[in-house]
């Protein structure tokens, strides 16, 4: 089972590098933002996999907090781009 | 911030407080005096400040609970449709010639409530080959992945619309 977790983590890291291409070269700010959002969702799963691999349940709490921060950051940046201020 | 005095408002605040408390107990996992006490304090402050965000509409709690349970019964059907739509998108991504023909459509619905509109927009983003671009009143602007031959997607959208309208007891 640990082998499957380790292989999943490595594959997810490779897909993060694929998304990083879009985040660096993507035309316009929207493409970069959606790439960063996708990287955030993959990071949540990687945190959970690390927690399972090393047997540390505290990583579940960390990934819950990371999911909330990812969502709020995306919404805040979208609002800033729309109105010019976060209010 | 306003605690209006009428009975339904106080009941709504109580339900929000109980839900927050369950969430706190699940996340903390300790049941001693310090953790439960600080949980009561935090949940009380949050309920006082923003307890009127959840139950804004003039609906009784019984009706909200009925809608909630009917929605839970609808979730497995929605998951099957989500799986089907994902296989479709995966086929279009992995096909060497990428058979897509995108465009923008508008869908008219008679929906009124905010929760219903949010549920319909989220379901439409997840299920057939469409994502919600704009919501203005009851009119939904969607971006479709396949325009030509997309009648099947539109039929699925009608299906979801009828189901959600029946669940939330509004005309579909």
């Amino acid at each position: 089972m640990n082998d499957i977790f380790l292989a999943s983590t490595i594959i997810l890291v490779i897909t993060i590098f694929l998304c990083l291409y879009r985040a660096i070269y993507g035309p316009g700010v929207e493409n970069r933002l959606i790439a960063v959002n996708t990287i955030g969702t993959k990071t949540i799963i990687i945190l959970l996999l690390i927690g399972l691999l090393y047997g540390r349940p505290i990583f579940v709490d960390i990934s819950i907090v990371y999911a909330m921060i990812n969502f709020i950051a995306t919404i805040a940046i979208a609002k800033y781009l729309r109105r010019g201020c976060v209010c | 911030m306003s605690l209006k005095g009428n009975r339904s408002s106080i009941a709504g605040h109580a339900v929000v407080f109980i839900l927050l408390m369950i969430f706190w107990l699940l996340l903390s996992g300790y049941l001693d005096f310090f953790h439960v006490g600080s949980g009561v304090l935090c949940c009380g402050i949050v309920t006082l400040i923003s307890g009127d965000l959840v139950f804004t509409e003039e609906k009784s709690l019984l009706r909200s609970a009925r809608i909630f349970f009917r929605f839970i019964l609808y979730i497995p059907l929605l998951l099957m449709e989500i799986l089907y739509a994902n296989i479709d998108v995966a086929y279009r991504v992995l096909h060497p010639s990428m058979p897509i023909d995108p465009g923008i459509l508008t869908i008219e619905t008679p929906f009124e409530g905010d929760v219903l509109r949010t549920a319909f927009a989220n379901a439409m983003t997840l299920t057939p080959g469409t994502i919600t671009v704009d919501v203005c009143g009851g009119t939904f602007t969607v971006h479709a992945l396949v325009l030509a031959g997309g009648e099947k997607d539109l039929l699925e959208t009608r299906d979801i619309q009828n189901h959600l309208g029946a669940i939330f007891e509004e005309g579909a």
């Binding site: 694929l18 959002n37 919404i75 609002k79 | 998108v89 919600t132 671009v133």
Partner: protein, 102 residues
């Protein structure tokens, strides 16, 4: 038995997450990329979380994972909708068949 089911769920989720990343690279414009990101990533995450729940069994961690799955299924389409709405109001033109890729 449950472990095999968990492995199947994790592999399906992994497949959809890889497809989401490939779609983010291959699709020609912003809106179609939002299709790939919004749909495939949400379902992939959900399937992997279901696999973790099956692997863990009935513990407090499983309840937390279930809460995380519900939160993701509500928040991820909302975030994608916010980004698409911003792009639409800023005037990003949608790609038509036959155009050059952006």
């Amino acid at each position: 038995m449950l472990t095999i089911l968990a492995i199947i769920c994790i592999l399906i989720g992994l497949f959809f997450m890889v497809v989401g990343a490939v779609g983010l690279l291959r699709f020609p414009d912003f809106y179609t990329r939002a299709h790939a990101s919004g749909k495939c990533d949400t379902l992939g995450e959900g399937m992997m979380l279901v696999g973790f729940i099956l692997y863990e069994g009935m513990t407090l961690i499983s309840v937390k994972l279930l809460l995380l799955a519900i939160f993701i299924f509500i928040s991820s389409p909302t975030a994608v909708h916010a980004l698409v709405h911003v792009a639409y109001s800023r005037g990003v033109a949608p790609w038509k068949k036959g155009d050059e890729r952006q």
